[in-house]
Symmetry: C2
Subunit: 652 residues, 2 copies
């Protein structure tokens, strides 16, 4: 193995830490207007926050729901990872949600939530979010706050430039970060250059029920596609993707992918490609990817393997793709509310590059090209440049907008948020972050209509900001008031997992649609027990099916006999409650699965394979009434050769 | 199946909701001193909370670490449930932590954290917590904030009257909630009465390293043992357990276990029993239970099956156990800081029963018995009663103390905290809870030295208190200032899982001991790679072992060839960083496991079984430096019959 010296690169990291630590000390001793800030983030007990913030859990694989300005965590919605608390990925109903072409996968790395839009404005119907590691896009329904669909993305790897929606949610877009052989094949890694491909996937979203489908995959050169955003307003119909590693290095990328002075932003005219494929363009390629759908009436998911995907060669669609040169391994790729400006943040630079959509169209029309890459025209940097922001910071990553002509950019290395003006490109304010900020979020900041009251910074390192918790410390968000000329730091609040990115929305758009219960009358679960007269136990060989109900504060049945060692016992349990906030749970000693936590009107199933004779208790693990402790039962397990009949009783 | 009408019992639940809703409306419209409360809970960015609160996740199975007074969540420590984010229960190192006599179990129901004590005061070394469902006790080390030991409790079920420590942490105690046949056997459930047993387990804790061992199990009558607390001060050497279902009903307990006017508090003289077993008393009984220990130097857990447990018959130890009659299915069992008063809260009553330890000793000495139950003497209620608190509330559950002569009791049905005076028993204040409060917590409230600045109420129902999140809404904590005569509600904050109970401690006792990194020089993991010269890949049949390092911002190696379809690939990955708060992660596309998230100086292992040929990427999912996106690599997977040699390279 080769040893390698990384002093220069390590220094980048150390500089960031030193810088941020020094700022931390300064802030802690400088007297901020604590009282004023305290009142601004205090949401009086019994009153509600103004905004929902849907915060990616990053490496937790989940989506967290916070309130702003309080920073309080209301719910962790399981998406890509198993959740023992909610039985997600453990009960029979949700296991299919985590199926993939690689089999059942209990984890992923969730990155970029984006809220559905209508006419370029947030409509609050759905949140989409990408799984990076085993490429997938998930959809969360904001009436139930549950994940209701996950679709795998073939030909993709490190699904990072995802999941952003076009302005009428026509598409949710998923771009590959890592290029791979397409189709996959056994080949030397060091033959990457010129042979690997980068797939940019456009998933259609049904306007009625939101159902996703891969409309087409654009098969691009083997770069790394890092982030993306849709055009909007005047640029609606286009999508923009940053690239890095245009060097096509396959090893030690921290050195080898930082050689080119400029990489590209890829501008994709999806309207043109859509027309092309609607007219029969593209190639159907064999593929194998899972499409998992959770049905709200059966309370159950199904997983279907899809076997083909439509692939488009960009060279076959004139006018489909152009490259905009952008300095220094650009990371963020953000579009202002008007759709005119495309901001590429070179993560190794100090300056921000702003491209003009109008200039881009003009340059395309006049064919002012500066060569091509794998046949895709490269526009001249100077011809598309709208302006440069001389930030004075280091390591710019992401930019959002307040709808009042201001942009806000995060700087990872210098740990700060910098506010600057669109069109004049002048820096007007800067505030430190604690520490090493990645994304930032303004509610609606990725739409035509931002709500520019707060910006939330999402920080990777916290070190000394909170009480210590051993070697592993929390990552963190910071909330700034941006209603005035100068930003004001209001609050640090820790987060679940890595707060990779977030999508915010005024609470009023969402809360009125939030479901309170599942109606029993609409429960179409095949194993539902909708009233006590349907309670029963059935044996089918070694399978035992218990059709059980729960209501304050008992199970029916609660004494079960006739189960034998070696049986596979299915508990199909229906919560008969029809009041808001009266879930019940069930758990069985020794069961090699999670509890069930069942909402009113819902049915769920767990499996228990008893291995020892005896009398084994089950109980409700959710404190549901004054007699919750009494909500329990027993199952008698007899030897495999026993002839005790199956029976279930209550109160006898 | 029998149908049953539960109108009367359901009404109890409805009354609670109606009551609490009405109070909710009143509070929302009454103008509290919001500004003052805001300042009291505001912890200025960069400054620290005053207290740690270790809050049980209840049905999440985990332990959450919050700061008070801010209510901010710093960490969720995985204890009894799998955690895909932290790889707990997924990586090779921690899978043994979840082993039991029933096999690997991915979930449990965590209930009562308790902090270790020295001389009856919190010492901040460990937190203990019980798993209810598959009975276990866990220990969390407060230098690393990691779970380092889990021991299963045999002969137990619904391990609820746990895990409370004696005043020098001599023992952590685990009492069964459900009685079961001991030993387990195939018998009719309705022969419960007189045949089932209730085990109260005393686990010794090594004063040096904290290692747990079951010293003895006291085999009690087949009641339900609900909660417990140690004597302290004058009553050190005793332990008190509430019972319910002294009726020994086996079905429909919400009716059948509420028949007796009084159940018991069992007073156990563990000093006498300790002497008895130290002198050879007790019976060694065959058993089968897991003892799982995580070693901080190998960063790995081992699971050992123990085969025998020492059982004590209380009738054979004179003076060991007495029953104190206590009205109305008592739930909480709390002992005041002096050790004189034992409070039993009858959950179906309005009044609190306070027993006197001094009177109890006197009655025992004078043999003032009122009969016996299964041979255990019952003391006369009037002879041991210190006083009754006429609360005016309904459904009292738990009581804590402020060290200034006041007690605070929660009422589930009337949703409130009631403050009353020890010795005069008069109620001096009451504040509503939102809604249906279970436990409450005052830091140190279960010790000789409470820190009576705040009380935290833990509520089961929240309904309208926060922005809605569909049918499933969060459970919640509420923080009250108790420094004055009247309690003042400061803050509502949502919680992870069910905030079943909590243990609080002044931050200064814990934070100074918190580890920042694991020293590489102390890493004794058998598969550690402590420097780049040890990087290697080895094949052993179909097993491939990759000994890999990670440091900002690359893996060594990052190009791996020679892996074949059908191989079982072990990635043993060591994080070479030695700076605070620089974890790295690793994840591999399609791996049927979680990521690894590896702290500085630590080694972890995941397994990948590639099923398809191709070139497959892995990457770091934790944003670790400005060049984090470049921290990736590829593995080439060749057909099973390929003869490509194993190789790993970096930068070649």
């Amino acid at each position: 193995m080769r040893k390698y010296s990384f002093i220069a690169l390590a220094a980048l990291g150390f500089a960031a830490l030193l810088n941020s630590c020094a700022k931390g000390e300064k802030s802690a001793s400088s007297g901020a207007l604590a009282s004023n800030a305290a009142e601004k983030v205090y949401v009086k007990p019994g009153t509600h926050d103004d905004f929902y913030a849907f915060v990616s859990g990053g490496f937790s694989g989940q989506l967290s729901v916070y309130g702003l300005p309080s920073g309080r965590l209301f719910k962790v919605i399981p998406v890509f990872s198993q959740d023992p608390e909610k039985a997600y990925g453990y009960n029979e109903e949700t296991k299919p949600m985590l199926n993939t072409s690689h089999g059942f996968i209990p984890w992923d790395d969730a990155h970029h939530p984006d809220i559905s839009q209508t006419n370029g404005e947030l409509d609050g119907r759905f949140v989409f979010i990408n799984g990076n590691n085993t490429p997938r896009i998930a959809k969360i329904d904001l009436t139930t706050f549950e994940t209701t669909e996950i679709i795998e993305i073939p030909n993709s790897a490190g699904n990072h430039s995802s999941s952003f929606v076009t302005e009428n949610t026509e598409y949710v877009v998923a771009g590959t970060r890592f290029s791979v052989p397409v189709p996959q094949r056994d080949m030397p890694i060091n033959e990457y250059k010129g042979n690997f491909k980068g797939a940019l996937s456009f998933l259609s979203v049904d306007p009625e029920d939101g159902r996703m489908d891969i409309k087409f995959q654009l098969m691009m050169p083997g770069f790394d596609y890092d982030l993306s955003h849709p055009g909007r307003g005047k640029s609606h119909g286009w999508f923009f993707f940053t690239t890095y590693n245009t060097e096509e290095a396959n090893s030690l990328l921290e050195v080898n992918a930082s050689q080119n002075d400029k990489d590209f932003i890829a501008a994709v005219n999806w309207k043109v490609i859509e027309e092309y494929v609607n007219n029969g363009g593209g190639t159907k390629m064999p593929a194998n990817y899972a499409h998992n759908v959770y049905d709200e009436h059966t309370h159950s998911a199904t997983s279907t393997m899809k076997k083909e995907v439509l692939v488009v060669d960009p060279l076959k669609v004139p006018g489909a793709v152009y490259f905009l040169p952008t300095p220094k391994s650009p990371h963020g790729c953000d579009v202002d509310p008007s759709g005119e400006y495309i901001i590429g943040n070179g993560k190794l630079s100090a300056d921000l590059t702003v491209h003009s959509f109008t200039k881009m169209l003009d340059a395309i029309e006049k064919k002012k090209f500066d060569g091509e890459a794998y046949g895709i025209p490269i526009l001249k940097f100077e011809d598309v440049l709208a302006g440069t922001v001389n930030s004075g910071g280091l390591g710019p990553l992401h930019t959002e907008f307040d709808g009042k002509g201001n942009a806000y950019t995060t700087f990872f290395i210098s740990s700060e948020v910098v506010k600057w003006k669109l069109e004049t490109w002048e820096v007007v304010d800067r505030q430190p972050c604690y520490y090493s900020v990645g994304h930032l979020m303004i509610p609606g900041g990725n739409s035509r209509k931002p709500f520019g009251k707060y910006v939330m910074a999402m920080n990777k390192i916290t070190k000394d900001r909170y009480l210590p918790t051993g070697p592993e410390v929390t990552q963190s968000a910071q909330l700034y008031d941006i209603s005035g000329e100068k930003m004001e730091l209001l609050l640090d609040f820790p987060t679940i997992g890595e707060p990779h990115y977030a999508a915010g929305i005024p609470a009023d758009i969402v809360k009125k649609n939030s479901k309170k219960i599942f109606k029993l009358s609409e429960n179409k679960h095949p194993h539902a027990t909708l009233n006590d007269s349907e309670v029963r136990i059935e044996r089918n060989g070694k399978e035992v099916h218990i059709y059980m109900t729960m209501i304050r504060s008992h199970f029916n049945p609660d004494n079960i006999e006739g189960v034998k060692v070696g049986d596979k016992v299915y508990f199909h349990v229906t919560n008969l409650e029809q009041d808001y906030d009266v879930p019940h749970g069930i758990s069985m000693i020794g069961a090699q699965t999670s509890e069930l936590l069942i909402m009113p009107g819902q049915t769920e199933t767990f499996v228990w394979e008893p291995k020892q004779v005896g009398v084994w208790p089950f109980y409700c693990p959710d404190f549901c009434s004054a007699l919750h402790q009494e909500m329990q039962g027993y199952v008698r397990v007899s030897p495999a050769d026993s002839d005790i009949e199956l029976s279930g009783t209550l109160g006898e």
